[in-house]
């Protein structure tokens, strides 16, 4: 989030504050648009010029990068792995007790090397507000610009090794064949350890030598990616370019520093990569010396700068290496800033403003999308409706022509079709019981007398006729009774060929005692079924 907010601050003022002098650079994105050197803060003319510049860019926040000798580092371990608790503990409990008053305190986290999983290791950075920082803060207090935070030069540049590796890989693969300035001394340079440190059981050590015209020579030691040691050798470049004796002194200081590292936990067999961010002159003298068996790598400032900041033109990094480092801070810095409580509210306000601007921009996009999307869909739908209405009118015209041709002018065709359909349906569905009963009558012989008739519509489309009758056997022999009854049944089966006919049988015993035998019979006719 912090880096995201800084990346969103496209225009900014960076003040690189060294022991020799200060450099003020105005950035637009990653390009320097103006810069000014302040050799002495007590020089009123220079400060007036700076004040005018700051007033010109009064809306821009100020980033102070400190490369002074007056900064100290202390390794501490906080007994919590919870980031929220860690932050509270260090800022409210631990930091206030360390270093006394008038000290700007901050921290950066380092790898947990103490074996305790429930603790967080960090380096507490203490920057005393003494000269020249004190005077600068006092001066900036009267300016309208907001101080974003104070940054430590060695802290911000501790992750530069990734870019060095990339730079050296490109040099080796011949992407930039004109370069002949990378001279590997003594041992071959290892681009990057492919084997994890835990497996090897050894630490990875990196030694940066930064040549800074605002301060001198800065040594920065990185162990396993964490800044563990830094020191500044004062050197004023205004006295002239490097001389061999001075370079030798620096070389001896470097070797002395490595010896000091041995008192920490550096071992010769671990090896150490020493990157020299120095000018050509320095390197020329340096190559002459008899060097110990370490991996010394000279980084050509100009080539490195041109590779890393391709869009920066006309910058002489060999003459002004600080511009290279500040460019690096602006583009790839950790932005691990430290801030005083006094500056905090203004800085937070600036952060909140940036967040609000981002929200506003997002809202603009969302609002535009929300407005455009329904409007676009409405427009599409209106077009579709328009097309459908036109189509409907065209077909309605055709229909009208056909209607007039087929039905005439004054007839509602829906009504005609409904009436014809319903009329046909009702007529077809109407069953005629009288017709069926009278047809049945036609087959009745005179000796069968109907008593009851039951007729009904059966399963919507069929009819069911149930007749109860009496068969009079008067004057008939036994055989004649059965044959007459059979003849009757045959006649109705012939007469109603499409119907199912069920009938009762004559009784098994027929009495001939009585004169007129009346035999009950039942006939059921259902159909048509065929």
């Amino acid at each position: 989030m912090n880096i995201f907010l800084h990346k969103l601050t496209f225009k900014k003022i960076v003040i690189l504050l060294g022991d020799n002098f200060a450099k003020v650079l105005i950035y637009h994105k990653s390009a320097i648009i103006e810069d000014i050197k302040i050799a002495d803060i007590s020089d009123k003319a220079q400060m007036k010029e700076l004040a005018a510049l700051l007033l010109k860019y009064q809306k821009l926040p100020i980033y102070i990068v400190l490369n002074v000798s007056e900064q100290s580092f202390e390794a501490i371990s906080i007994p919590t792995s919870n980031p929220f608790l860690f932050s509270k503990l260090i800022s409210r409990k631990v930091a206030p007790k360390k270093g006394g008053e008038n000290v700007i305190k901050g921290y950066y986290k380092v790898s947990n090397n103490n074996g305790k999983k429930k603790s967080t290791d960090c380096i507490l950075v203490k920057i005393p507000t003494v000269s020249p920082l004190k005077e600068w803060l006092s001066f900036l207090d009267n300016m309208p610009n907001i101080i974003r935070a104070i940054y430590s030069f060695p802290v911000e540049l501790q992750a530069i090794e990734c870019d060095i590796v990339k730079f050296l890989a490109e040099q080796e693969s011949g992407i930039n064949p004109d370069s002949k300035v990378v001279k590997k001394t003594k041992v071959n340079f290892k681009v990057k350890d492919k084997v994890p440190q835990e497996e090897k059981g050894a630490s990875k050590w990196t030694f940066y030598v930064f040549q800074s015209e605002t301060s001198g020579i800065r040594f920065t030691i990185i162990k396993d990616g964490d800044l563990v040691f830094t020191r500044l050798l004062h050197y004023s470049f205004e006295e002239g370019p490097f001389i061999e004796e001075r370079v030798e002194v620096i070389k001896n200081e470097m070797i002395g520093t490595i010896e000091y590292l041995k008192r920490l936990d550096f071992k010769e067999q671990d090896g150490i990569n020493i990157y020299l961010f120095v000018d050509n002159k320095f390197n020329a003298f340096f190559q002459k010396f008899d060097l110990p068996n370490y991996n010394f790598v000279y980084i050509n400032l100009q080539l490195f700068g041109e590779l890393k900041f391709r869009d920066h033109k006309n910058l002489d990094y060999d003459a002004e290496p600080d511009k290279l480092f500040i460019n690096y801070f602006v583009s790839s810095g950790l932005y691990n800033g430290f801030i005083t409580p006094k500056l905090k509210s203004a800085s937070s306000l600036l952060d909140n403003n940036i967040i609000a601007t981002v929200c506003l921009a997002s809202m603009l996009v969302i609002t535009a999308a929300l407005a455009v999307l329904p409007l676009y869909r409405i427009s599409l739908m209106k077009d579709s409706i328009k097309f459908n209405v036109a189509d409907k009118n065209r077909y309605a015209g055709q229909l009208e022509t056909i209607r007039e041709k087929k039905f005439g002018f004054d007839i509602d065709e829906d009504k005609v079709i409904d009436v014809a359909f319903l009329h046909k349906k009702l007529m077809n569905d109407a069953q005629d019981p009288i017709k069926m009963i009278f047809e049945f009558y036609n087959f009745l012989p005179s000796n069968i007398i109907m008593s009851d008739i039951d007729w009904e519509v059966y399963k919507e489309t069929k009819m069911k006729l149930v007749i109860s009758a009496h068969f009079k056997s008067e004057g008939l022999s036994f055989e004649e009774v059965f044959s007459a009854y059979d003849a009757f049944l045959r006649s109705i089966k012939t007469g109603f060929p499409k119907y199912d006919i069920d009938h009762s049988e004559l009784p098994d015993t027929i009495s001939f005692e009585s004169t007129v035998e009346s035999l009950p019979i039942n006939i059921q006719v259902v159909g048509p079924v065929r």
Binding site: M363, L370, Y395, K415, V416, A420, L426, M427, D429, E456
Partner: protein, 204 residues
Amino acid sequence: MVIKKLKAILFAKIVIILVMISGSYIFSDKKYDDLKKLDRRETKEISELKQIKAKIYHFNTKTEDISEALATWEYITDEVKEFNGLKLGDAKEIIDRVKKKHNLNQLDIKLSKPEILQGKYKGVKVGVESTILKIKIRSYTDIQVFYFLYDILVMLPGYPQVIKFSIKKSHDLNDSNLYRIARDPKFSPVLSEIDIRWNDLKSL
């Protein structure tokens, strides 16, 4: 001064964001309402277009049906000018007349509440109004009943459909029963029950 200005700017930005959120909500809400209305209108237009196309297809392909429908229409509208459904007042008069004509002893009629039929009798502009007539008749002979039913079916306007018809003869019409009838005119050897679904067309 700068702090105050920054605070004012921040406040203004927050206000603008809130206004934009509420404004975009109101705007999009209204537009989505409009979209819904347009969607409904589009569905209606498409449905009407389909109906017209179906009609054109029907008119072009079912020419014989249309001629038949027109013939039926002309035949029906010669007598019926308006489709007002069942004429219940006429029915009573007709039944009374037929009862008198056939000298029925007793006639009991029940009528269900008329209703517009759905399902297979559903029309677009004309429907079928229907009621069930339950008739109970007592008479001397079954012939009287048959004539009565025939006259009813012919004389009732619309489309009467017999759905149930029964005749029960308790006595034959012999000399002794004729004598009994002569003495007691209310003696009715024949009982008949007729259920008629009486339908007629009605404009919807």
